[in-house]
């Protein structure tokens, strides 16, 4: 069908918060009968690993609300003011924030990144891994899920040249 809309996404970040949007948008685009391609480059590349180990870092995201996923509704709505000295220096702070975010997402009925990635593949979204970044950071194809294509800037741009929506995330 020639009037099929095309979505082209570059996923350049691999933290838990930044890992979501590419998979949300690509899976939804496919559900809306669009074609979708995600090009994974630089820090976005680990999102293709079999086991996604994405974390969130409150220290580098000062506007991130810090809320608890348990307790009464009033307690859960408190936005805890965490000083930079704590978020940046306390060992394990990112792990704790990651755990809290995952728990919150689960309670709110948000899919996991792995789930959304699986649905993308089921819906025919194409994943392209940046070959250059793989060389630079020492990633092996064996570490990644099946069904990934490998290419460079030209591979992505060939597709993106005809895309209706292009996003850099």
């Amino acid at each position: 069908m020639s009037d099929t809309k095309k979505l082209a996404i570059i996923a350049s970040q691999g933290t838990l918060d930044w890992g979501y949007p590419p998979f949300i948008l690509a899976s939804t685009a496919a559900a809306m009968d669009m074609e979708a391609v995600i090009f994974f480059t630089f820090y976005g590349l680990p999102l293709l690993k079999k086991e996604i180990d994405a974390k969130v870092s409150p220290h580098s995201n000062p506007a991130m609300p810090m809320k608890m996923p348990f307790g009464s509704k009033d307690f859960q709505s408190i936005n805890w003011p965490i000083p930079n000295a704590i978020s940046g220096n306390v060992p394990g702070f990112d792990n704790m924030a990651t755990m809290l975010m995952k728990e919150t997402f689960k309670k709110k009925g948000v899919a996991t990144i792995e789930q959304l990635r699986g649905m993308c593949q089921e819906f025919g979204v194409r994943f392209i891994a940046c070959q250059m970044t793989m060389e630079v950071f020492g990633f092996e194809k064996e570490e990644f899920i099946d069904g990934v294509e490998y290419g460079g800037a030209a591979t992505f741009l060939e597709y993106a040249a005809d895309a209706d929506i292009s996003l850099f995330i």
């Binding site: 939804t28 559900a31 009968d33 009925g109 948000v110 899919a111």
Partner: protein, 78 residues
């Protein structure tokens, strides 16, 4: 309003964006043209999202009702 007869029912209660849309897409794929899907969701964003999804895909949003935060959609497959 009397209940619209549906060929398939999909419960998306408690699920958040974009899961209701993704599951609706999968469910509609399993139907034949002209058949009706009944989808139930509690995500308030699903109201606008379902309308947009139907607009784009061409499936017809036959009806939408809301009761105590529970949204019921009837979608006719194109």
């Amino acid at each position: 309003m009397s209940e619209i007869a549906s060929n398939l029912e999909l419960n998306c209660e408690g699920l958040n964006c974009p899961l209701p849309i993704l599951k609706t897409k999968k469910a509609i794929d399993s139907l034949n043209s002209g058949e009706i899907l009944k989808m139930i969701a509690t995500d308030p964003g699903s109201v606008n999202d379902m309308a947009s999804w139907a607009n784009r895909t061409g499936h017809e949003l036959v009806a939408h009702t809301e009761s105590a935060g529970v949204h019921t959609f009837f979608i006719k497959k194109k």
